[in-house]
């Protein structure tokens, strides 16, 4: 490691004041602090020792929590590919196809995102923050496997610049950056990120006759309109490529078409266990998010005027990206509610809104994206009232 340290030391003069790459000083520091935790020490006043945690470690914890979803997503993209094309394939064939589809998206997301971030850091001369470690992965995981790479790049640039950097960078943004990227694509290029044709990676193959790429959410919505019980519609969907594609257990496992990383409720829950176990994400948001969705499902059952509203609420947990969104998106500490009481309300309303959007709005089969963004905007309002209550307690105390 001494060699690497020497290399950095040799390069250092170029980046210091008066050096030829002075402007890129922040890039030098950024890379050096990734290779080596910095040799900074505490000041003469204030705490003389500091906790071993830092933001890099917090962020990498989230990345690690997403890895099960990523790996499963890679497999599932291949799995869906062979289901749709009606070919037999081994595990490795599936993984290979998955890699072909997913890796370029991941690479583009990270490369373009980091590039944008570095550019901003150099222009603004502020330190490179580790926030994009998480965002880069998230963006890739919420993309459909067929998305054109240039769209990934565009969405990433939009999200980093408009979603984050214009507010002052990591820690200052109002909206979840990865959700911003997805919402950008959703409204700018709806053809490539909605409908029935984008969720299964086909490559240059053609699907078997009669194949439908509709997601479980779309099937459920159509069932509601047609007056057919949702579970029956789900069971009868795409039976020609195999029974039970949309069975509850399959939906839970995530062996269904969808965005790369969001199909598996199980993988999201594994992520949740990691995030809650390490204390990195708020368990309050996760628990209340799932509870909100379930409660709203029950309420819709009571007032059901169509079959979709009458669907058993637990199906909302396993269809679409609800689990992934609640575990990885809603818990982003910067855009979520920041008070402990606020987190309960924030999570609950995300769950509730997601189900309302799904069931009642024909334009958006999936509601989690809009629910998270909507609640991102409302989080400060929730916090405002929680903070106000705290101030009020203090004031009341004074008059006693």
């Amino acid at each position: 490691m001494k060699a690497l340290q020497n290399l950095f030391d040799n390069l250092k003069p170029n980046f210091e004041k008066g050096g030829k790459w002075e402007k890129f000083h922040t890039l030098y520091e950024g890379h050096r602090t990734i290779a080596f935790a910095p040799d900074l020490i505490t000041g003469s006043r204030g705490t003389q020792i500091k906790d071993a945690v830092d933001l890099k470690r917090v962020m990498i914890t989230v990345v690690i929590a997403m890895i099960p979803a990523l790996l499963f997503g890679i497999f599932n993209v291949g799995h869906q590919h062979f289901l749709a094309t009606g070919m037999d394939a081994t595990f490795f064939d599936k993984v290979l196809i998955g890699l072909i589809s997913v890796l370029p998206i991941l690479i583009v997301s990270y490369a373009i995102g980091l590039g944008t971030e570095f550019t901003f850091c150099v222009i603004r001369n502020h330190p490179i923050s580790e926030g994009f470690l998480v965002t880069g992965m998230l963006i890739a995981l919420v993309m459909p496997p067929n998305v054109p790479l240039w769209q990934v790049a565009l969405a990433t640039i939009f999200a980093v610049v408009i979603g984050k950097e214009v507010f002052g960078g990591t820690g200052m943004n109002i909206l979840n950056v990865a959700m911003t990227a997805r919402a950008f694509l959703y409204f700018a290029y709806p053809a490539q990120i909605s409908g029935d044709q984008v969720w299964t990676y086909l490559g240059d193959k053609t699907p078997v006759d009669g194949f439908s790429g509709a997601t479980a959410l779309a099937v459920a919505y159509t069932a509601g309109v047609d007056g057919e019980p949702v579970t029956k519609a789900l069971a009868e969907h795409n039976t020609l490529i195999g029974d039970g594609l949309y069975s509850f257990s399959n939906l839970f496992m995530g062996l269904i078409p969808g965005s790369i990383g969001e199909t598996s409720t199980l993988m999201a829950l594994i992520g949740a266990v990691i995030l809650i176990g390490t204390g990195v994400a708020s368990w309050k948001i996760i628990v209340s998010g799932f509870a909100g969705a379930y409660a709203m499902g029950l309420i819709l059952n009571i007032f059901a005027v169509n079959e979709y509203m009458a669907m058993a609420p637990q199906y909302h947990w396993v269809m679409g990206g609800l689990a992934f969104g609640i575990v990885f998106m809603a818990t982003d500490p910067v855009s979520a509610a920041q008070t402990e009481a606020g987190k309960w309300i924030y999570g609950l309303l995300i769950g509730v809104l997601t189900v309302i959007i799904r069931v009642t709005n024909p334009a958006y089969p999936e509601g989690i994206m809009l629910a998270v963004l909507f609640m991102n905007v409302f989080a400060p309002l929730i916090d405002y009232y929680v903070v106000k209550a705290n101030k009020k307690r203090r004031l009341q105390r004074a008059t006693v």
Binding site: T33, T47, V58
Partner: protein, 454 residues
Amino acid sequence: MSKTVKLKKGFDIKLVGKAEKQLADFKPSKTFAIKPTDFAGMQRPKVTVNEGDTVKAGTPILFDKAMEKVQYVAPVSGEIVEIKRGDKRKLLEIKILADSKISYESFDKFSGTSLESLSREDAIVQMTKSGVWPQIIQRPFGVVANPDDTPKAIFISAFDTNPLAPDYGFTLQGEESNFQAGIDVLGKLTSGKIHLNINADEQTPAVFANVKGVEVNKFSGPHPAGNVGIQIHHIDPINKGDMVWTVSPYGVCQIGKLFLEGKYDASKIISVTGSEALKTGYVKTYMGACVDTLVEGNLKQNHIRVVSGNVLTGDRINKNGYVGYYASQITIIPEGDYEEFLGWVKPSTTKLSFHKAIGLLSFLNKGKEYVVDTNTHGEERPFVVTGAFEKVLPMDILPTYLFKAILTEDFDEMEELGIYELIEEDVAICEFIDPSKNELQGILRNGIELLMYS
């Protein structure tokens, strides 16, 4: 009504280098110093002695032009050897070379009954001229109390939960009568009660056991349960316009001794702690002692930092620096100015953390004592993680919002969010656990100063 308060929030920092409960044989310090920088809110310190003057223990050597009544006095008798100034002639240290036998200025002496009839005014006069007054800290703001004020209550924390903190049961052995006399005098100063807050989890040291004239409250829980600010919050919180005073147990004893024996006695048992000290233990010396005799020949290695006080609220001092006015320990820890390959992600059982993020395994071994150096383990960042401060600050206060209010200099918000209830030591544990490495104690002091001088 005395209260028992169980606190759950907080974090005990367990470090290697606890002081052994015995007086260790260190050579006595030769020089002693008073550092105006120890007194938050001291505005215009003025020295009243010159280099070469001789002083007795209790001779005034310094005062603050903003509060001229309160004298700061020499802890020992001897010769003023140096008046050290820094940039812009900022007064840093007034050093005294101690006599081998300490002589004392004499003040009025009282016995138990005459102490009772002592008037409030006379008590204050004796306290302010003799040098014990700065032991009294005013809240809000954490500054030396103004003798013209009358506090609504006085609070004394009878235990210290800071890392490697000294044990009052040991350092205040045999001080029972001084402590009681101190309480009797303090009782004259407030219109309200004196709260003595003891540790519910441990046996009460003799010095606090049978004290009259106080309300005893019990506190249990991890650090910062021993911080007087936390205790005030749970007993009788400070609202806007309120004023309370706090005194350390040592300060109470010193006040008591002043009235019982008629002298300013700055002798003090301090503890020598820290992982890099060969020999830990307690040493009997005087306030403001030079640490050279405690450090020299007592180091496991040379790349160390000496801290006056504990590692959360103390100050870095040189190897021949001086113990602070309020400090009752020194802590010797390794310097941390090294780079660590992939140190931000490497799993470790030897690094102490309140958090459990990937690779931080110290939570698995709660009883273990750690060697912690001065490395910051990361760079400063904006606030990102939420809810962490709330887990270590056992108060109904929203720290992040308060810090943001201070950073944006929003006076109304600061007041409404409870800045009057906090001083640096109360948020020190937040500063320690902060993943974004902000200097929260400094931020808080800035906010306090904004309010004080506005």
